[in-house]
Each structure stands twice: as structure tokens, then as C-alpha cells.
């Protein structure tokens, strides 16, 4: 009995969650996929009508804005978070005595809900209240910082808050990576008189490649799923200047009563996530014959 239990324990423990995932994740995705081919509006319909929803989606200027925003936001968010994270990790790696405390402070934004910290960000970025008012109060009357309400720049405030939230996390990952680089190689390079920046760019950073990849995957899927950030800061506005696919989908499903559009946009979003994540998962699975 105990042998049988021992051998089948993994399966027995996994079975309930497996079934739950099958229904709640794949079942619902299948439902969404089905509905995306129908004429559903306020209520779901189930007669397949072809790719009409996708045609509407790609013809929609709002979706176009959302996808462009995703590209711009995603690229800036990922690149800035990684660069800042790496620089901060190198800075903290300089044997600073209070490292533990500083690391915790850097990580706080990640530990706190963006929905909540968004309150502070809205205040800081608000032209009439935050930084603009503060600098003007110091006597610089012509200073303007109205990104939050400027349709052309509002997306950059989302980048700003996103970087604030994630760069501490990237820093912690890179810090762990810096600590795991082989000491002997670095010592040898130092003995050879190789300048420090060359040691970083030619030895340390290349050997941290797997961490860069993990950080990229985490950041990329955060970017695609970003919802809290936009909702907390701009609510997608001004107009729909800061819409992202996730907020587009949400607006269609819950305030515009257009389930067909919501479903087709959700399917496109999922396609994008898959395109990024599947190759990664695949490469992770490959070398398992060790």
C-alpha cells in the first residue's frame, strides 16, 4: 500500500489541480477562442461566423494604438529595467555595508500593489499638484511636466512607473548572477591588467546570459499582461492614448459590451505571449537529458 502510494503520490496530488487547470485555463481559453469567431455583442453567441471579429479588430484605430503602445512600452520598459537593474546590481556589488537594507528598499515597489502605489504616482505626475507644481513653486515658472495629461507623452509615464516597479527585481536577479561568476577567472583577468569595464563586458556579462534571458522573459510577459499599471495611472487615457491590449480587451468586455472584440483581442494577446514564451520553454526543456 505504502509503495503504491509512494509511486503514485505525484500523480494523485497533481490530479485535482490538473483537472482544475484543464477546465479553468484551457477550457475557458477554448471558449474564448470559439466566441472570437462569432458575432457576439452584449451576450455570447455560438454560431461561427468566420474571422469577422479579427477583421474588425485589425481595422480598429484603437487596437492599432494599443498594439503600438505595447511595442513602445514593452521595448522601453524591458531595456530600461534591464540596464538600470544591471547598473544597480554592479553598484550594490561594491561591498556596501548596508546592502541588505538597500536591497529591500529597491525591491519594495515590486512587493507593493501598483493599484495602491498608483495613488502616489498620479499625485507626483499630476501637473497641478506634483513635480510640476513643486518646481514652479521654487521659482521656475515656465517648468512643465504634463506627460500624464499629454496624449503624446502619457505612455512614457506608464514606462516610468513600470521601470520603478520592476528594476529592483531585475537588480536582485543580476546581483545573484554577479555573485555566481567564477572568482578565479576574474582574478586571472585582473592579474593580466585587463581594465574593469572590459572584465564586465567580456567576461561577467556574457557569463550571465541565462539570467538575462530569464529577466527578459519575466519582463516581457509582465509588459504584455500590464493592466494594473495603466489602470492605476491613466485608466487608458487621455482618450485612449495609453491603451494596451489588456485594457482594450477589458474595455470591450465590460464597458463597451462587445464580447466578440474582447475575445478576438484576447486571442491575439495570447498569440503574442506564446510567440515569446514557447521558444523559451522549449529551450529550457531541451537539455533535460543530463
Amino acid at each position: 500500500m505504502s509503495d503504491w502510494l509512494e509511486n503514485h503520490l505525484p500523480k494523485a496530488v497533481l490530479a485535482p489541480s490538473f483537472i482544475a487547470v484543464l477546465i479553468f485555463v484551457y477550457g475557458f481559453i477554448a471558449w474564448t477562442g470559439w466566441v472570437s469567431f462569432t458575432r457576439s455583442r452584449l451576450l455570447p453567441k455560438y454560431e461561427i461566423e468566420g474571422i469577422i471579429q479579427y477583421e474588425r479588430l485589425f481595422a480598429s484605430p484603437r487596437w492599432d494604438t494599443a498594439m503600438n503602445n505595447l511595442l513602445l512600452f514593452g521595448a522601453l520598459f524591458i531595456v530600461i529595467s534591464m540596464v538600470l537593474g544591471l547598473l544597480l546590481a554592479i553598484l550594490l556589488d561594491q561591498q556596501i555595508r548596508t546592502e541588505g537594507v538597500i536591497r529591500t528598499i529597491y525591491l519594495y515597489p515590486m512587493a507593493l500593489s501598483m493599484i495602491v502605489t498608483g495613488t502616489a504616482w498620479k499625485w507626483i505626475l499630476n501637473p497641478g499638484l506634483g513635480i510640476e507644481a513643486m518646481v514652479r513653486g521654487w521659482g521656475f515658472e515656465s517648468f512643465t511636466f504634463d506627460w500624464l495629461v499629454n496624449p503624446d507623452y502619457a505612455i512614457y509615464t506608464v514606462v516610468l512607473a513600470g521601470v520603478w516597479q520592476s528594476s529592483g527585481f531585475v537588480m536582485a536577479l543580476f546581483l545573484a548572477g554577479l555573485r555566481s561568476v567564477d572568482e578565479e577567472i576574474i582574478k586571472a583577468a585582473q592579474v593580466d591588467g585587463i581594465p574593469t569595464w572590459r572584465i564586465y563586458s567580456a567576461i561577467i556579462i556574457p557569463s550571465m546570459a541565462p539570467i538575462f534571458l530569464s529577466a527578459f522573459i519575466v519582463l516581457a510577459h509582465l509588459a504584455i499582461k500590464s493592466f494594473d499599471l495603466v489602470i492605476a495611472l491613466t485608466g487608458g487615457g487621455p482618450g485612449y492614448a495609453t491603451d494596451l491590449p489588456a485594457t482594450y480587451m477589458y474595455a470591450m468586455a465590460f464597458s463597451r459590451g462587445d464580447i466578440g472584440q474582447a475575445a478576438s483581442s484576447a486571442m491575439v494577446m495570447m498569440g503574442v505571449v506564446f510567440a515569446i514564451v514557447v521558444p523559451y520553454l522549449y529551450s529550457e526543456l531541451r537539455p533535460r537529458n543530463d
Binding site: L14, Q94, R97, L107, A111, T119, L129, A172, M249, M269
Partner: protein
């Protein structure tokens, strides 16, 4: 190892100062929220009262009257704690089984579990609201606890697995020799040995549950509504009630800030998914 540039005055004082200045930037929004929470709504929007103002506790006193804070806080505590307990209750045996009785499929299963976490929640949001409403589960603690547990399960199992894997199998096998059954092994040997890792995982799970907004906002109205819902539901028009809203926000992140401060090691370990040991 760290490459430390030759000791100079900059190295000794400049770098720590720089690190702290950056830290101030990171902490500024949180600090600002707390500061604003002690201002009246009128003072909060006046630039001349930016730093100098008469502190007041009115916002915190009013909070319970205007926003019914305690009910939301109670829901947050109940759902986050219950979901964490339940996730660990399922996750520990699961990770135990995979770490000590691995099969060829173990890594695939782990990857598959994690892959569900990567899918955009948007794709299942509508059916979820639709079905929970017709099943009468909408806006119940049960539903929120279940959803929070399910969305955090993959990460919890993944993290526990990485911690458990580091425990020598001999120790577990020695327990088997002594006649301990599976539950005995988990309770008497595994949990005490992996206590640090379990604590980090639990803290991470609790934080994620506490912060969860996507599902809790969508799947509740009043009975099971958490602090995320309270804040999301009170996005006042520009500049209104900033003092009051800051107080509610500060009271919502306060527990995590304090908890994180006292469990720094677990916080860092947890948030980096065990990458920082």
C-alpha cells in the same frame, strides 16, 4: 565575486551615498503617500503645504466612516491568509513528490505548470465572471480564496521544488528506514529542514494574494471585496480627497512594508523566486 575598484574616497563614501540616493528615489512615492495621508484634503493639493503642514489624524479616523476600511481589510486578511495556507497545504506534498520521487516527466510538468502562469488572464476573464455568477459563487470568500490559490500555485510549487531539491535525499531515506510514513516524513523531516524556503515562499504567496487586483476587483462587489477593490473603486476625480485616499492607500500597503522590513531575507528570497539565497 565582486570587482571592487581601488579604494578611493569615492569608493568609501560616494558609492554608498549613491546607493542610498537611488534608494530614496525608490522609496519616494511610498514616503509621499504616507506624508500626504497626514494632510487634510485641502492641504494635500496646495503646493505651499508640500512639506510644511499641520499633521492631522483625521484621514485615518474618517477612513473607517467614509470607506468602511475594516471590512475590506478583514476580507484581505482572510482571503490572503487562507489562500496561502491552502496553497502550501497542496503545494508542499506536490513539491515533495516531485523533488524526491522524480520521474522523466517531472521537469515537463513543472514547466507546464509555470506556463499556465504566463497566459494572459484576459483570455479567461469573461468566462470566469460569467460562470461564477451563474454558479452563485460570485463575490464569495470561497471563490476568491480558490482563485488566489490557483493563480499562485505554479510559482509556489516551483519555488518549493527548488528548495526541496537541495535537501540530500539520504536524509529523507533515513526517515523511511526509521519507519516514518509519507506524512511523517513531510511533517517531521522535510518541513523543519526546509523551513527557511517555506517561509520565503509563504511570504511571497501572501504578498501576491494581498496585492492581487485583476481578479479580486473583477470577481467581487461587496461581501468578499478586498483592499484592492476599495482603492480601485475610489479613484476620485483629479485632486479630490487626496489626503483621504492616501490614508487608505498607506493603510493598504502598510502591512506589507512592515512585514517586508522584518522579514527582509525572506522578502528578497521570495521576490526573486529563490534566485537570491
Amino acid at each position: 565575486m565582486a570587482i571592487v575598484a581601488k579604494t578611493s574616497r569615492f569608493g568609501k563614501y560616494g558609492r554608498p551615498t549613491l546607493a542610498w540616493v537611488v534608494g530614496l528615489f525608490f522609496f519616494f512615492p511610498i514616503f509621499w503617500m504616507v506624508l500626504t495621508s497626514f494632510k487634510t484634503d485641502a492641504d494635500a493639493v496646495k503646493p505651499e503645504h508640500l512639506i510644511f503642514f499641520k499633521p492631522t489624524f483625521d484621514n485615518y479616523i474618517n477612513m473607517t466612516e467614509n470607506y468602511d476600511y475594516w471590512r475590506f481589510a478583514k476580507n484581505s486578511v482572510i482571503t490572503a491568509v487562507m489562500a496561502t495556507v491552502f496553497t502550501l497545504f497542496v503545494g508542499i506534498p506536490c513539491a515533495y513528490a516531485m523533488a524526491f520521487n522524480p520521474s522523466r516527466a517531472t521537469k515537463d510538468v513543472l514547466m507546464w505548470m509555470l506556463s499556465t502562469k504566463m497566459l494572459p488572464a484576459a483570455a479567461v476573464l469573461y468566462p470566469m465572471t460569467f460562470i461564477t455568477k451563474s454558479a452563485g459563487l460570485f463575490d464569495t470568500h470561497f471563490l476568491i480564496i480558490l482563485v488566489l490559490s490557483l493563480i499562485n500555485m505554479p510559482i509556489v510549487i516551483w519555488m518549493l521544488f527548488t528548495y526541496f531539491k537541495e535537501i540530500p535525499k539520504d536524509i529523507i531515506e533515513a526517515g523511511q528506514m526509521d519507519g516514518a510514513n509519507t506524512w511523517g516524513e513531510i511533517k517531521e523531516i522535510l518541513i523543519p529542514l526546509a523551513w527557511g524556503g517555506i517561509a520565503s515562499t509563504a511570504l511571497l504567496c501572501f504578498i501576491f494574494c494581498w496585492n492581487e487586483a485583476y481578479w479580486t476587483v473583477r470577481l467581487t462587489t461587496t461581501d468578499a471585496a478586498t483592499l484592492s477593490k476599495l482603492i480601485e473603486g475610489n479613484r476620485a476625480p483629479e485632486g479630490l480627497f487626496f489626503g483621504r485616499l492616501s490614508a487608505v492607500s498607506a493603510a493598504a500597503v502598510g502591512p506589507i512594508v512592515v512585514l517586508g522590513w522584518f522579514c527582509q531575507k525572506q522578502l528578497v528570497q521570495g521576490l526573486t523566486f529563490g534566485a537570491v539565497k
